[in-house]
Every structure is written in structure tokens, then in C-alpha cells.
Amino acid sequence: MARLSDLPAATAKRYAELECPTFATTPWVNGPPLAERRVAIVSSAGLVVRGEKPFRGRDPEYRVIPSETRPDQLMFSHISINLDRSGFQEDWNVVFPLDRLRELAAEGVIGSVAATHYSFMGATDPVQMEDYARDVAARLKSDGVDAVLLSPV
């Protein structure tokens, strides 16, 4: 349903005209077969562990989501009210598919699930996030992660 033609005209126009950063080149890193990879989720849904500071405005920082986080501990603080929250309310895997990754690891389809996952506020200008994203990349590497599933909302 997230086709521009299905969205309200004003929203579709805003998304179509949204200025996206452009890059001269696109990086490319290879890795082992999926069954040997360690997978992390990086979300832009403004997710926060309950008790931590919710995202406000266009915060460029990130929040840490440990793998032992339970569904009842994860809050959704994305600034936009123009996206569905009821799916996440019914089942957190719609946005943060940690249960599915655990199942795939148990089935041997992926190697393992990362110890830590990360969340950004997707409404922030990505250029403002760059330094924080590079920090997350270093943290992911130190956890041995070699596959990141980027989850928008």
C-alpha cells in the first residue's frame, strides 16, 4: 500500500519531493553465506527501551536495544503520526522482527543474532546522523555483526 499513488495527495507530494542525500559512489561489502552471518536490526522507527528518553523532534542520535529486550519494554516514539502503529501494537515483529531472527538462527538459516540492535529517528535529516551511524558501524563490527537488516517505518 506504500505506493505513492495510494497515499493522500499532499503526503505523496511531500515524499516524492523529499530531498534525499546523494552519494557519488555506493559501498559494497561481501560476507560469508547467510548461515554463517551474525544479524542485527537497525530501525528508524524511533524505538526506545521503556525508561529511556524518547526521541523528540529530529534527534540525530541513536538508542541501543539489547537483544534480551522484551516486547513489553519497547516503545515507539517516531515523530510522524502519518504511519500505522496498530501493527506494532499487535506484534512488535512488524517493525522489530527479533523473534523471527531468533527462529531463523535456531533453524540454522542465519548464523546468530547480534547482542545489540539500534534505533534512529527516521524523520531526521540523514546527513545529521552520519557521525552517529559511523559510531554504530564500529559497535556492530565489535559485536562481530556481518549482516544488518535496515528497518524503516
Binding site: 500500500m1 506504500a2 505506493r3 505513492l4 497515499l7 493522500p8 499532499a10 515524499y15 534525499c20 542525500p21 546523494t22 555506493t26 559494497w28 561489502v29 561481501n30 560476507g31 553465506p33 547467510l34 552471518r37 544479524v39 528508524s44 524518547p54 516486547p71 513489553d72 516503545m75 515507539f76 515523530i79 503520526i81 502519518n82 502503529r85 496498530s86 501493527g87 506494532f88 501494537q89 499487535e90 506484534d91 512488535w92 515483529n93 512488524v94 517493525v95 522482527p97 523471527r100 531463523l104 546522523m129 552520519e130 551511524a133 554504530v136 558501524a137 564500529a138 556492530l140 563490527k141 555483526v145 556481518d146 549482516a147 544488518v148 537488516l149 535496515l150 528497518s151 524503516p152 517505518v153
Partner: protein, 243 residues
């Protein structure tokens, strides 16, 4: 999301992005992306459908095994079956009679309704084992009363030193909407997000109250309040054409 893919991959970590707006992904050109035909807010598709979600995840992760790239943008072929309405779903309570109601009458109706919803919300949260309500720090009934104060033209004091009164209004509205939806989701039916939204916005005192708050404060001289009224109370798809 696609820009994050650039930054992380430049840092040496392979990435694959789920794409909800294909045009944005085409502009940003991440290393790998899977476009999905789902509504905003549901990147992995239908709730409570593990098999479907797993197909989406695997379709994305398998792109990591491609040897040639960048840029890879593939399309997931299947629609989200939960976008279809469930004819078996029933609203949790009957539509209140609000015709020609003044703001004061609407405030009373909101206080009464949110108090009743609080009890149902507590049962639903216990049954589900979780809730996303909690941004304002107010209970559901308190959030209703806080909003009712604004409907009466007052500026109720924020209960938190860290939040201004307008920000508390925004989070109270977020919490109230979330609580109503969680009540509407209890039971075995599988309503679509549109069914839930149609009920909240058209058939509850809370929906009518949020529309009224938007209208009241859209022309406020307080810029924060004006911005919150215009951008953070009523979703764009629900704003009437007259604005």
C-alpha cells in the same frame, strides 16, 4: 534508511534495507534494498503472521548473498493480507451521541469515555502482556482529563518538569489513541488498520475531541501549540479537505 545503509557499509558492515517508498530508495541508491508493498509503519507486513514476516526477512537477507552489486533494488511480490478488513471485527463500544455538541459537552463526553476505556485498556494490556502507552506519563483517564482541560480553553499544567504543556498535550493524545487501538485489538478478530482508524476517528468521543483540539489551536499565537495542532494530532489522511 537507505542513507544509513551507505554509512554502515562504508564502516565495513554489509546491509540490506527494507524500502517502503521506492522512489526515495531509487534516489539514495543503497547497496541492497527490498521494496515491499506494505503500508507505512509495517515494514515486515502483517502482524501475527510469522510465516509471512519470515518470507519478507529472508527475501531481504538473501540479497546479501548476491555476488554482484551495488546497487540491488528488488520488489517483494505479495501484498499484506491484513490490509483487507475483517468483517468479523466489532467496535469495542457503541458510537456516542455527540451531534451539535459544544466543546464543553465534548470535554465531558471525553472524560466519561476515557475513564471507561481505561478499565478495558488495563484488561487488554494484561491479556497482551504489553502496551505502547506511556509517553505522557499519564494514565488513560488522566490523559482524557488533560485533553478535556484544553478543550475547555484552559492550559492545564504539565505533570512533568521535563515537558511543556503543549508537548504533554501531544503525548496525551498519542497515548489516548494508542490505548483505544489496543482495546479495539483485544479479541480474536484481525481488523485492518483502516477499520481501526475509521472507528477511532468517526465513532468515538476521543476522535471528535482530537479533531476539535486541532481546530481550536491551529490558529494559536503560541507557535509550539500551533505546530502541534497542525502536525501531531490528526493524521494527514484524516484531515478534512477544508483543512
Amino acid at each position: 534508511m537507505s542513507a544509513l545503509g551507505h554509512y554502515l557499509e562504508e564502516g565495513g558492515v554489509p546491509t540490506v534495507a527494507i524500502s517502503l517508498i521506492r522512489a526515495q530508495t531509487e534516489n539514495t541508491k543503497p547497496p541492497r534494498a527490498l521494496w515491499v508493498p506494505f503500508e507505512l509503519g509495517r515494514p515486515f507486513g502483517p502482524p501475527s503472521d510469522a510465516a509471512f514476516q519470515k518470507r519478507v526477512i529472508l527475501a531481504a537477507l538473501r540479497l546479501l548473498e548476491r555476488e554482484r552489486g551495488p546497487v540491488i533494488i528488488e520488489d517483494f511480490p505479495d501484498e499484506d493480507p491484513r490490509e483487507q478488513p475483517d468483517p468479523g471485527w466489532r467496535p469495542p463500544f457503541a458510537k456516542p451521541d455527540l451531534d451539535n455538541g459544544s466543546a464543553t459537552r465534548l470535554a465531558l463526553a471525553l472524560e466519561d469515555e476515557s475513564e471507561r476505556v481505561e478499565a478495558a485498556f488495563r484488561r487488554a494490556a494484561k491479556e497482551r502482556g504489553r502496551t505502547i502507552v506511556g509517553l505522557s506519563g499519564l494514565s488513560v483517564g488522566e490523559a482524557g482529563r488533560y485533553m478535556a482541560g484544553w478543550l475547555r480553553g484552559q492550559t492545564p499544567e504539565s505533570p512533568s518538569a521535563e515537558m511543556s504543556a503543549p508537548l504533554t498535550l501531544r503525548f496525551a493524545v498519542d497515548d489516548l489513541k494508542a490505548a483505544y487501538i489496543e482495546v479495539a485489538l483485544s479479541g480474536s478478530a484481525t481488523p485492518s488498520s483502516k477499520q481501526l482508524g475509521d472507528w477511532l476517528w468517526n465513532d468515538t468521543a476521543a476522535g471528535a475531541a482530537i479533531f476539535a483540539l486541532r481546530s481550536m489551536y491551529l490558529t494559536s499565537e503560541d507557535d509550539r501549540l500551533k505546530a502541534i495542532a497542525g502536525l501531531f494530532l490528526v493524521p494527514g489522511v484524516r484531515v478534512p479537505p477544508s483543512g
